[in-house]
């Protein structure tokens, strides 16, 4: 009798999750795959075809955009890590425990408003007639305002800003578990700061670094708003190309193929990353 109750409980609790997975993830992906392998022939009839995938590999513009997007995403991930590690170290190890929560909330705060609002905030600050230019000119640091938007550097800054939280949270939790005495012992034995960073802190936080990197990489690769608004005329991102196929060219089959390729290629990049860092996905995601 008791056994039965537990099973029913399990069924009730697991059904929403399974439904979620099946209806919102598995089925749409299958539908997309199905669409991706169909294309119109010259007579305008739909039929099975791999032309959509071929287009990606043989039209330089598409795979170049993907390569550019992936390179930028990797760079953004690395930059986010470099900026976030000292912040995480400061919050967990240096500052008095009283302020730890406060500082973590400060970092969380910008995420209480939507990404769109944050991006527009940056645009108001950085545009030619914007806030920062106004002050630079007023204090005679610049002769006339310069355009700070619509270039790669601004776009990368925006992406790093958007992703910082997702790197910080896993780093905070791994650094919390790092025993302070290890660092003290290393200092006693004459190690300098860089040795401690490379031999103790980074190896210890590897699982956090890898899980943070996966999240940041995927979010950056799949971002649409920031590259489009802050990158402007030079910010063609692969997601935008998918959007264009669906919306501007009315070619849903090509768009689906691109979407599917984005999924596969980004999974491959993450797999390579895991192999290189010698981490296991199961451990990283714990």
């Amino acid at each position: 009798m008791k056994q039965q109750n537990i099973r029913w409980g399990l069924v009730i609790f697991i059904t929403p999750m399974l439904l979620w997975l099946l209806l919102l993830i598995v089925l749409p992906q299958l539908d997309m795959l199905f669409m991706a392998v169909r294309a119109e022939n010259d007579l305008g009839e739909m039929g099975f075809s791999l032309i959509n995938f071929k287009t990606f590999f043989f039209e330089p513009i598409y795979w170049r955009t993907f390569a550019r997007t992936a390179t930028f995403a990797i760079f953004v991930t690395f930059l986010t890590f470099v900026i976030t590690l000292p912040v995480a170290f400061y919050i967990t190890k240096v500052v008095s425990p009283k302020f730890q929560g406060f500082l973590a909330v400060l970092i969380l705060m910008p995420f209480w408003v939507s990404e769109l609002v944050r991006v527009y905030g940056w645009m108001i600050l950085l545009r030619e007639s914007g806030f920062i230019n106004h002050f630079l000119v007023k204090f005679h640091i610049l002769d006339k305002p310069v355009e700070m938007l619509y270039n790669d550097a601004t776009m990368i800054m925006g992406l790093v800003y958007t992703s910082m939280l997702f790197m910080l949270v896993p780093l905070l939790s791994v650094l919390e578990s790092l025993d302070n005495s290890l660092i003290e012992a290393a200092y006693d034995l004459g190690a300098n700061m860089w040795t401690i960073l490379i031999k103790i802190i980074i190896p210890h936080s590897m699982p956090g670094i890898v899980s943070g990197s996966i999240v940041v990489f995927m979010l950056t690769l799949g971002n649409y708003l920031t590259p489009n608004l802050m990158g402007g005329k030079n910010g063609l991102w692969f997601t935008e190309q998918i959007y264009n196929q669906f919306i501007a060219s009315f070619n849903w089959n090509q768009g689906s193929a691109f979407g599917f390729l984005l999924l596969i290629l980004s999974s491959v990049i993450i797999w390579v990353g895991l192999k290189l860092s010698k981490q296991k996905l199961g451990q990283v995601m714990q």
Partner: protein, 355 residues
Amino acid sequence: MFKKTCLSLMAVLFLAVFTMSAGAQTLEILTWKGYAPKVLVEKFKKETGIDVKVTFTNNEEMIAKLRATRGAGFDLAQPSQDRIASVQAKYKIYQAMDFAKINKGQIIASMLKAVKDSTMVNGSPHAVPFCWGTSGLVINKKMAPNASDYTDLLNPKYNGRISYRLKRPTLIALGFALGDNPFAKYSDVSAYKALMDKVSGELIKNKGLVKNYWSNGDALLQLMRSGEVFVAMAWDNGGWKLHEENPDIDFVAPKSGALGWIDTFAIPAKAKNVDGAYKWINFMLKPENAAVFTNLEKYGTASNGATKLTDKKVRGNFERSFPQADIDNIKWYPPVPAKLESIEGKILDKVKASK
């Protein structure tokens, strides 16, 4: 914790279903920004008791949204007249117009006929006209007094002060400005592609001059207002709105011809509140309501007799920007045949990807 989440989720779902069934008299409109002014929505609610819910979009997204649901989810859409026939033939997302339910006396006859002809699929028209306007140049005359044609979008004199949309109207406008006629080549895919390649070559060569490709009308107005952009390709009403604030800025009909469009009413195939949709169409085309719309948004209207009721200033805009020769030179969009969109899509991608 999980149980709580489940419970609250169910509560939300229940509420959603409840409110949906309670507000049965709603009208879902898929339209452009500014096409359903708040005053008119409120007036319509008072007259008929129907709540109007508005979703803002553009031509391409309108088609994609209706195609995804096979014409469900909205009771009324407002695509441009040239983007209906080939889309309807292929995806069947609209239903034929029932002209018995439309107060035809309210509509300018020539415009009604033009839209009927261009949206004819399987022997029945699928749209009625609502408003019209043109794309051309919005120019800051103090900074760029000599800008007069689309070619000024490629003029090094205005380096960094140029903005346009990376959409099909820009390609077509430059096609005309380079001395060709893109509309005449609509039926010949390879000639059209050759022309588009030529246009995109120019766009890529002069990409460095562009400040930004605008995608949001308000953002462009802000760029012009703050003096960051002097020469832009945009809709006439945007230029006229700015002219009220700053007399230096105005809409200019380009030498090679402004591009004329007519936006319509079309009823999606699976619209729920079809009666409400016809009521809204007749309401919006009533001269006094159409005049309210035109005064607010500065677009031309398809309503017969509304022009007499509009502000003098609005009529002044038109007379200032469009001398008779320029009116005769307006290039009206013919219906877009299938296939062209994918050619243009690829070319626009190439322009955006180039350095």
